[in-house]
């Protein structure tokens, strides 16, 4: 059975006039998770700590300009183990007052029909990456607990010299048989790439798949296969239009939407502190951008390529060399008009974006260059690109992480023990 953690993304319209009260409720729960003291009482609660299946979960309120001025919608995004119905059952079980949260949404008719309500509003991810396909939330947390116990034991007594040097036996060198098994597994996992390509061509057209893929790989010359491919196809990143940055001279000016409906969720300077982007090891990023309608096919093809790579080829804990991502997903929503990006990552926002720019600059362009507000030189105009991201970032009201102190690198080394 496939043990890979699954992702759920739900977008439900909020009833007119209910968004302020809903936000206040969500914030109170979110603050609770963040360790702030909130006056307890009759307010609803979601006891995420009791969950055994959830890796990450977040609630955020997005604008919904297509539905009308002033309208909003609720985003619930989670990563969970096991089947969806059990995830939803658990979510109901740990929520003290389901109606108080979901009752603010259109179409919600009570906790008894919660399952079908959620399933009706769930959106499929166009691309989804999981750092560890074979780890559940409980296997990761128990490995962390084991490490903590080891360290606590070690910290509480005085080691002798011998103990220090002979503490751990050398790792067995892999046998030929084992490496054969591993290689076979990799081939079996990679095989469906062929059908992925066929499906992508059928759905998005050959041109979009071909040019989209080339766009992604333009800056991946560090891999021999792409270096050769780029050489054969003369695939290069287009020359810079200017050596200067296109950011406005006023460093604090608000981002002006280029098209109607390009939601600017919040003043980006105003949201930073409560984002806790560096208070713990893990952070989260939710981006909502508007895609140029003429190029949706290309974006779809690019995301299909990323999805196929992430599913079939990526080694544990690494997406094209980036090892700070726990989970990431892209969804084209609103019939392809908007692109939603949801990620759970390690370290500060600045370092996360820096790593992307270093490792897969052309991939960033391939994904977002058709979104309104992307700088003319794309992600290479680094200050303007960061501003583009910041100004399309949606603050979460609740962000839960099951193992908030563990980075992907920590999990890799915990797994080895």
């Amino acid at each position: 059975m496939d043990k890979t953690p699954r992702c759920l993304t739900v977008l439900t319209p909020i009833l007119p006039g209910k968004d302020a009260a809903l936000r206040a409720r969500l914030r109170a729960i979110g603050d609770d998770i963040n360790g702030k003291k909130v006056s307890a009482g009759t307010r609803p609660d979601i006891a995420f700590v009791r969950s055994r299946r959830i890796h990450f979960a977040r609630f955020a309120i997005l604008n919904d300009p297509d539905r009308g001025p002033g309208r909003t919608r609720l985003l619930f995004a989670s990563v969970y183990d096991g089947p969806l119905d059990e995830h939803l059952d658990e979510l109901v079980a740990i929520t003290s007052d389901v109606d108080a949260i979901w009752g603010a949404c259109e179409g919600y008719t009570g906790v008894n029909r919660f399952q079908s309500f959620i399933q009706a509003h769930a959106c499929d991810a166009n691309a989804y990456y999981v750092a560890f396909r074979d780890e559940s939330a409980s296997s990761i947390t128990s490995a962390i607990d084991a490490r903590r116990r080891r360290h606590a034991l070690q910290d509480s007594h005085t080691p002798s010299r011998d103990e220090r040097t002979n503490a751990r036996a050398a790792i067995d060198s892999p046998s030929l048989f084992r490496s054969l098994v591993a290689a076979t597994r990799r081939v079996v996992r990679a095989a469906p790439v062929v059908t992925d390509v066929v499906r992508a061509v059928v759905q998005n057209g050959f041109g979009n798949v071909y040019h989209g893929t080339l766009r992604i790989t333009a800056s991946l010359d560090r891999y021999r296969v792409f270096r050769v491919l780029n050489w054969i196809t003369r695939n290069r990143t287009p020359p810079r239009k200017s050596a200067f940055s296109s950011v406005p001279i006023d460093q604090r000016s608000a981002f002006a939407p280029l098209v109607t409906g390009d939601e600017i969720p919040a003043e980006w300077t105003a949201i930073a502190p409560e984002f806790r982007e560096d208070a713990v090891a893990q952070n989260q990023l939710t981006l909502l951008t508007v895609v140029d309608p003429a190029s949706v096919g290309r974006v779809r093809a690019v995301l299909a390529a990323i999805d196929s790579y992430a599913r079939r080829l990526s080694p544990p804990g690494s997406l094209i060399g980036i090892s700070t991502i726990h989970f990431v997903r892209w969804l084209l929503i609103d019939r392809g008009r908007r692109l939603l990006f949801i990620s759970d990552y390690d370290g500060s926002w600045e370092s996360y974006i820096d790593e992307f720019a270093e490792m897969i600059l052309s991939g960033l362009d391939a994904i977002w260059e058709t979104s309104y507000g992307m700088p003319p030189d794309g992600a290479r105009d680094f200050p303007a690109f960061k501003r583009f991201l910041r100004s399309h970032q949606v603050p979460s009201d609740i962000f839960f992480a099951a193992y908030p102190d563990a980075t992907v690198l920590n999990i890799i080394s915990d797994r080895a023990h």
């Binding site: 005085t158 220090r164 503490a167 200067f244 940055s245 820096d354 200050p383 980075t407 690198l409 080394s413």
Partner: protein, 503 residues
Amino acid sequence: MRLTDEALADIQGVITSGYRHLPQAAYLFVRMTDLTGARRWLSRISASITTSRRWPVERASANVKPQSAINVGITAAGLRACGLPSRVLCTFPSEFQDGITSPERSRILGDTGESAPERWEIGGLRSDPVHALLLLFASDETNLNALCAAQRAILELCDGVVELRDSMQRGYRPETESEPFGFHDGLAQPRIRGVDGRGVATGEFILGYENHYGLIPPTPVVPRDLDPSEILPPLSNPYHSMESLADLGKNGSYLVYRKLQQDVAGFWQFMAREAARGGRTDPTTIIWLASKCVGRWPSGAPLALAPDRDAPDLSERDDFFYSDDPDGLRCPVGAHVRRTNPRDALKPYPPRQSLSMTDAHRLIRRGRVFGPPLFDPGVLRRASIDARETLPEMRDDGQARGVHFFCVNASLKSQFEFVQQTWANNPRFGGLNDNMDPLTSSPCDEKTASRMTIARRGAPAGAGAGALRTQVLPRFVTVKAGAYLFLPSLTALRFLGRAAADT
């Protein structure tokens, strides 16, 4: 591309030179309360500011080095005080506008508890605002005193421009090159490509040039109507060619100042205690442990090249890497010098990508030591009988000592703050679990308790139990003062000295 002589003559000298031949330093903190006086002061000092101009070569190829040097940095509050309106200030990076004491900055820098800006002596939340900082360097104390007196005389002449009371700081470059803990300091400075012909992109340290990403970063600008006599060069950015703007940042930079007080006795007592916990009391083990925390031996020899014992002949070496030592068996991953400059071993990236990423976060350090040394650092290099006496018995003498830390960077956010937040203060740097920078970090509660973790063969520092873990690291370094400063070019300084009023 090399910088032209004209550009070098416009760039403040402290950016390109550490003034190693001028061991004495004084720092004057200035407040400006009168616009006319402020402009008069800036135009007076602009004539005497030391630039990066190449020193003239006398016969026999000996450089004629200046016997003193003067440089000046101005804070955001200072720029306001010398007449810059908010439509100019808003073109500076937001972290500079906020200033180093803002809560957001303190959170990123880890300036909490004992290091919180509320407790600072200078530039803090409970002390007078710093508007400008004069950096004075001289060959000896007599010259330094004369230099200070001359600068104070200029201040006297300028109404409303005053030195903050009892704020003057003294710094020096010890002959041993040792910072107060006893380690050779100031090594591995990045080279500026435009000055040395190789090294890190010029734009990482000087505004107006291409940075690591091949991009000329945003620069503070002035609307042309504020500069009618066209002192400043025009802004050449094509994205803003519609507006008539002048480039205030060109050939300028940003300077970070932090007064870092060091608990030298506490540092060595901790190392001695930890060695004793492992059953050893010999100075060799104590120094070994401290060197593992630093990443260099007291002489400066990098652990990456000399893993087992100090090797003074390697002390100035900068041509070493860590990627062949991913677990940190030679130089621990959490060691101070490895985490503030991870070179080619930024986990888990391939060496080339790592070097490239590191280049985007380099700092030119211009610090000086303050306070008398608590002990002769020579005992460390000899690890001799003296050290046997000195190290375990070290007691604090109640005198303040440490480093006036200065660093030059073109972006406070992606250089100084990045290094501080993502590398130094990050307990999970490079796959570690609870190991912040053992020297400079300030763990303040149980949750952020930091322990130095030293990998042993077969026992990497991550999850295993075999790596050596110290007890919780106490605070060895406390921040006592700080400022984010703009280092204007000579041209910008002349402009500030005569900027037209704008109300």
